[in-house]
Amino acid sequence: MHFSARQTWLTPVLAYVAAALILAFLSHSLPRMLPGDFVTAMYGASDVTLTPEQAAGLRAQYQDDSGFTAFLGRIFCLDWGYSHAFLAPVSALFFDALPWTLVLMVTAHLLSSILGFVLGVEAAWRRGTRMEKAGVGIMTVLEGIPELCSGVLLLLVFALNLGWFPAAGAQTAYADHTFVQQVADRLHHLALPLITLVLAYFPGNFLLARAGMVMVMKSPFVLTARAKGLPPLRVRYAHAARNALLPLVTRLGLRFAFMITGALVVETLFSYPGLGTLLFNAIAMRDLPLIQGIVLAASIMVLGINLALEFVYILLDPRVAHAS
């Protein structure tokens, strides 16, 4: 049993380390696979103009053959190269943008997960009622609208036509705000991108939680819990929902690729100064060191989050920890 318990956490760790190495290797070797002279190939069509010294520096960085291990070392030392479009080190740009993305993503995920889970559980409990049917219908339709479309619509209606919310940015520039005003201002800016993301993530969570709950509610142990004279709320959450949480966590990891893509789009759409917008600008200006740095750093963060989710799952389901 001890061996299998170790294997439970060892397998995902190994898989994620391997995935991280593959990602790092790709971002190391892909630029080197470009035909001809790197700087000409990349910056020939770019908006960035380079001085001869900068060009020489880039050549040195991308054509030196100090090898993959040296590259890994540079990643760990946060030496991710220099952005000639923004005239700043890549890591500095990355860590400037990161907090904004974190605020947006963490809030969106928390809101949509809690909301989706609770409403999904309650919907499953009221299965067959008119309210529940309507709820499932609305959620299914919402699940069919991509962030790109809902974002555009929200932007048009609430920012451009009604003018209730700002159309771009994360805060009012150069405003002389008190702390409270500043928080309010940031929330005001956060609202539309946040709503877009919540609208994108929430229906999926809702439908999953509901489906999981409907399955769990058929389990004999739920009937036993009721038979034991436990009050309905306790039966619903301590017994049924606790088990319905499991598929939700599994699927969250699988949906991540979707979610990052959506977040990139939403940040770009609302010119929110996070990683997505930074990446968009880097792509637009073909600033390769920046693209490479953001992709690699963001990927590793995603890997970290997914790995954490695996452990959450192991914590939530005692069966995994002891399964052979």
Binding site: P146, E147, L148, A211, L254, L264, Q292, L307
Partner: protein, 279 residues
Amino acid sequence: MHLDAGHRIWTDPWFLTGASLLGLLFCLAVFGPVLTPWDPYDTSFIPLDPPSARHWLGINDGGMDIFAELMSGLRNTLVFGLTAAFAGLVLGSVTGLFAAWKGGWVDQILMRLADIVLAIPSVMILILLAAFFQPQPWVLALTLAALTWPTTARGIRAQAMTLKNRLHIQAARHMGGSSRYIIFRHLMPELFPLYLINFAAKLRMAVFMEASLAFLGLFDPSLKSLGLMISYALKYYYMDIWVHWLMPPVLLLSFLIMGTTFVTISLERVFDPRLKTAL
């Protein structure tokens, strides 16, 4: 049970709505060019001309007919989606079946490989590839397939493992059926609902990816795409273009994703609530 499910699927309103939406969009993609006399790459019209009887949705900033662009973009999006979904499905099903049938270390290696690939955020690889090499869309579609096969492989493998131990398949083996016979005569047909669900789910994911990546400017800007159209139209949001330029690609994209969503959800619900594949 499957016969019953086959019947039930045709009475499920969600499936019918989704399938008709998709059917309509497929028809538009196939016959779109016949509906309009204009070439989507013809830049000889007056830029930003509003809709007229000649140009149903007007002209964009580059002097191109928006309706022709829309049809062409829809077609490109669908081709991308179908390529990625089909390739991913084939790759995943073959791997899953193979792993389930062989078992042992083959299964172990393939599934650990699946774990690793599954962990890699596919969008990041696509961004890297697109940014460095600006490849043709089909290359990106195949790359996407190469990154998303594990979800299918896992689902197919799990189901094939349980099927493999069912009595009627054991019986076929006892009767002397070869692996080939059992895989082709029993396993593959019985997994049919799983293929459908996976294909629909993958199509949805691929269409979403294409639109988003094109919107972010990662696709060849000379090719028409719904995402790219939205991105261009947004630049002119201050002008009165949103009804005829911004909304059509937004709506078309929504309908496309909605259609695949409805079909996926309905297939999952009808065929087996436990067959959970990634949306």
